[in-house]
Symmetry: none
Subunit: 92 residues, 3 copies
Amino acid sequence: MDSISLVGTVSIIVAGLTIAIGSIGPALGEGRALSEALNAMAQQPDEADTITRTLFVGLAMVESTAIYCFVISLIIVFANPFWDFVIQNAAP
Amino acid sequence: MDSISLVGTVSIIVAGLTIAIGSIGPALGEGRALSEALNAMAQQPDEADTITRTLFVGLAMVESTAIYCFVISLIIVFANPFWDFVIQNAAP
Amino acid sequence: MDSISLVGTVSIIVAGLTIAIGSIGPALGEGRALSEALNAMAQQPDEADTITRTLFVGLAMVESTAIYCFVISLIIVFANPFWDFVIQNAAP
């Protein structure tokens, strides 16, 4: 029962901390890019379409790093191979 | 009963810390983007519609990182597979 | 009785820390956006209505990250599944 407790506990801790820490960087980066894009649109209103298109493609790239953390968190919770092995072998 | 206490305790701690830490980045990023949007509207009042539209789509992207943390917190509290396993196997 | 003490104690601590830590980011972000809004209204008094409307919708987005922390704190206090399980099984 000891390895089950240990693996389960660590899985919960890491799943939460992964997305918690992993969301700080993307959110700050997206906020910075968005603020600068709005500033650029105020300086050059005629180029608003180009700025908006570039902004959204760039935000999707930044957002992908947050999605990586989200996917890893979900994998650790719902498709954890270490947990699967431990619960199969530790309950004879 | 020991593993139940351990997994339950850790689940509560991680669920709280995930959304607590995960809300810092998105809130600061959204605040920065919003402040710059208002500054841009003061510079170019004629482009207020374009700036507002771009701002809200961008804020939704930033907000999504906070929603990821919220989803993981709710999963850890209400749909935790480790907790489900522990309470099924530790109550003979 | 030991697991009841542990889960109850941790629930109280985490419920407080979640909203305490989680309120730092939204408060700073909203304060920054509000200060810039007042600055923008001083630059363009004619656009005060547009700036105010955009400010309040944006503040609601920032506020939502604080509401997530508030919801998790309330869940930990009033709808804690770990606590419910512990008090049902530890009182034979």
